[in-house]
């Protein structure tokens, strides 16, 4: 195997492409660094001058307002300059190759590229071709990885549950197509969570998923028993049109999170969701808005985590 492209010669993080392959020390460093940034987001002046003069380019080949906005806010709170490029619309349609697009931006003195792309592996291709002082952060590549989401999920779990080594975590829904699930699974197993469960129908489970270190459940009630954390994945509408699922209603019946099903988990279990939620498909409103839901704090933590990631990679 070639050397890990995320780490530089000193073993420091120079790109964040995937949680998989990162040593636990680096994951812990990111979570620990996010802590004081969370403090910054809570005070009145939410900016620090740390990355003044640095430029962050948001390169989104796949449209996303939520994620792009969070990265923009995070970069601005670090006093960096932010440039948003909706490449989905402009150069790609002109037939410009991915690498040509990046090379053109490189000429504009970028320090950090935040990249979201529909094809797995695209950020790796970019990272192989950027200059030494340029850093790539993967904001989601196909169904492969969404490492900043995984990190903010880990941060959230640590915030509420403290000790990873005593937890049972369940991830429910369309694992097959989910980069959020893959990233979270890698993070949880690296940080020593003893039991990670995936819950969903066979049609939405990737082949050999157990090899990622998880237990597979097709029966949601059985899978939720005794869980400390329940992460609900978003089900996309497209999945309903093919041979994978018959309907949203049937999915909700078997795999939707309701208060009644949640009661099977531990009394102090937390409910998470990467957003945006499909109410009535994967989760019902009373649970989404209920006392065990930490879905909104996830969003806040997401800014602190992204500030931590950006300031760590851009400084290495």
């Amino acid at each position: 195997m070639p050397p890990n492209p995320q780490l530089n010669a000193k073993g420091e993080l120079q790109h964040l492409l995937s949680i998989e392959g990162l040593p636990r020390e680096i994951l812990t460093q990111i979570l620990d660094t996010a802590e004081p940034f969370a403090g910054v987001t809570e005070r009145e002046v939410k900016k620090v001058p740390l990355m003044r003069g640095k430029s962050v380019f948001n390169l989104f080949f796949e449209a996303s307002t939520r994620t792009r906005t969070t990265f923009e806010i995070a970069a601005k709170r670090l006093s960096a300059d932010v440039i948003n490029l909706n490449v989905a619309v402009s150069s790609q349609s002109k037939g410009e190759s991915l690498l040509d697009t990046v090379a053109n931006l490189s000429a504009m003195q970028a320090d950090v590229f935040v990249v979201r792309h529909g094809s797995a592996g695209a950020p790796y291709l970019i990272a192989r071709h950027v200059k030494p002082h340029e850093h790539v952060i993967n904001a989601g590549d196909g169904r492969h990885a969404h490492p900043t989401q995984g990190l903010l999920d880990l941060y959230t779990i640590r915030h509420y549950k403290k000790d990873f080594t005593r937890l049972t975590v369940a991830i429910v829904g369309d694992v097959l197509h989910s980069r959020v699930a893959r990233s979270l699974i890698h993070g949880l197993t690296t940080l020593g969570v003893p039991e990670v469960r995936v819950i969903g129908p066979q049609t939405l489970m990737p082949a050999g998923v157990e090899s990622l270190g998880v237990r597979v459940f097709h029966d949601m009630r059985a899978g939720l028993k005794g869980c400390d954390v329940v992460m609900m994945l978003r089900l996309q509408n497209e999945r309903m049109n093919g041979p994978l699922l018959p309907s949203a209603a049937e999915f909700f019946r078997n795999y939707g999170l309701t208060a009644e099903k949640l009661a099977l988990a531990r009394a102090d279990a937390i409910v998470m969701h990467p957003g945006p939620m499909n109410r009535g498909v994967e989760i019902d409103s009373p649970v989404a808005d209920g006392p065990r839901s930490v879905i909104l704090p996830q969003v806040t933590f997401g800014i602190a985590v992204r500030m931590a990631v950006m300031s760590i990679v851009a400084g290495n």
Partner: protein, 421 residues
């Protein structure tokens, strides 16, 4: 011209001969007559074997001129010691008309390098709907009929095409792939694809299609050559089919006995191949099947791809790897790993494909065509873009040091390649 190849280790897999000796060539054939030679090649310390016969090498002609040219790929072939090659019909346009076949053969012949045997399209435009004029195409020089990497999805058409080919005894060379099951996938449906988030192609896309093909062989009597096996299960099915004495042969691409899904690493698009690289278990079964003869021969599956088409995210990259110049060292590597004799190793790229192709080359005996390769099995060389004559530099073996260097290639008694360094 009278040619003498002197003092080399002569290996003829067909007869099992493996000894130091001289080879006399006259009038394009191996001669029993030790007449005075016009030219002598000193083969001391080198191996002299039949020239390699590669049943799948894309020359990118007609069409695809930006990827490679006939000249560059024919240069690559003889530099790799390949003296005969069969080219699949997936050219632009596909080889479904006699005029195209004829032109290709003439152009190839005029270059005076390797012998080119075109494989004709089984259906018009490879579209899987209408049969091609197989008799006319055979007359123009097609040795078999194939769908390249575009399997027929309509089983009715598949049945009738095989029936028609069987009528005339034309061999049918087909990939075993169920296009419905594989249509979205880009990698083997297993642990690596799951980790990398790549859409998967399950192993049963091959076995389900193979079962269909074998059943159609039983019903039609067509001579079937299954191309590019990729699964352990398919090797077992072929073994059973041969036991049943069905007229079935098969090949494996050289990459598939060396590489597996693990070689994808961090989305290396040089490993984006069709069929995909599968599990280590599959690789082991293919390597073993090639050793015990269940898999009849190994091919390069040469597919030069423009570098721009590889510098893309994995799923978007074009499939294929360059292979003509790597076939010899890679087959030697396989043979060494399986602890086979050189003769048995080389059989899989000489006498065995000769048998399937139905040609006289591929053996060393008086009267046989003088198609030979002289090589140094111990000389290492580094796989680098400037070391390859093919315009395709796309190979997963970039940077590897391989053993097996061609020193001279002879086709029809003419020295068509010499390593001058």
């Amino acid at each position: 011209m009278k040619l003498l190849i002197k003092g080399g280790r002569v290996i003829d897999p067909a007869s099992g001969r493996d000894e130091v000796g001289d080879i006399f060539i006259a009038a394009g054939r191996i001669s029993g007559d030790k007449a005075k030679a016009d030219r002598t090649i000193d083969a001391k310390g080198l191996v002299v074997a039949p020239g390699l016969i590669d049943l799948a090498a894309r020359l990118r002609e007609p069409g695809h001129g930006y990827k490679a040219t006939l000249e560059s790929e024919m240069d690559a072939a003889v530099a790799g010691g390949v003296t005969s090659l069969a080219c699949p019909p997936d050219t632009t346009p596909p080889l479904d008309e006699p005029g195209l076949v004829d032109m290709l053969r003439r152009r190839a012949k005029a270059l005076e390098r390797a012998r080119v045997y075109p494989v004709g399209a089984l259906t018009v435009k490879l579209a899987g709907e209408r049969l091609t004029e197989m008799s006319v195409l055979a007359h123009a020089g097609c040795v078999a009929f194939s769908q390249a990497n575009v399997p027929i999805t309509d089983t009715q058409v598949l049945w009738r095409a095989m029936q028609y080919a069987a009528t005339f005894g034309f061999p049918v060379w087909l990939r075993a792939e169920d296009k419905w099951l594989s249509r979205e996938g880009v990698a083997h449906d297993g642990e690596v694809a799951t980790r990398l988030g790549l859409a998967g192609i399950p192993a049963f896309t091959e076995t389900i299609a193979l079962a269909t093909l074998l059943q159609l062989v039983r019903s039609t009597g067509a001579r079937l050559h299954v191309c590019r096996l990729s699964t352990a299960a398919a090797v077992d099915m072929i073994r059973a089919a041969k036991k049943e004495k069905l007229p079935v042969t098969c090949d494996v691409g050289i990459h598939y006995v060396h590489l597996s899904e693990l070689d994808l690493g961090y989305f290396d698009s040089h490993c984006r191949l069709d069929p995909p690289l599968r599990s280590q278990r599959d690789r082991e079964a293919l390597a073993a099947g090639l050793a015990d003869g269940t898999v009849d021969c190994v091919v390069s599956d040469h597919a030069p791809v423009d570098e721009d088409q590889k510098q893309l995210p994995f799923a978007e990259a074009e499939t294929g790897a360059t292979g003509l110049e790597l076939l010899l060292p890679l087959v030697l590597k396989w043979g060494a790993e399986r602890k086979l004799s050189l003769a048995r190793t080389l059989a899989r790229v000489t006498s065995d494909p000769a048998r399937i192709l139905g040609v006289q080359s591929g053996r060393i005996e008086p009267g046989a065509p003088a198609d030979l390769v002289v090589f140094d099995p111990a000389q290492h060389w580094r796989v680098a873009p400037d070391a390859l004559r093919s315009q395709g530099k796309n190979t997963p073996f970039l940077g590897y040091e391989l053993a097996g260097r061609v020193r001279a290639t002879i086709v029809a008694g003419n020295v068509v390649y010499e390593d001058v360094r």
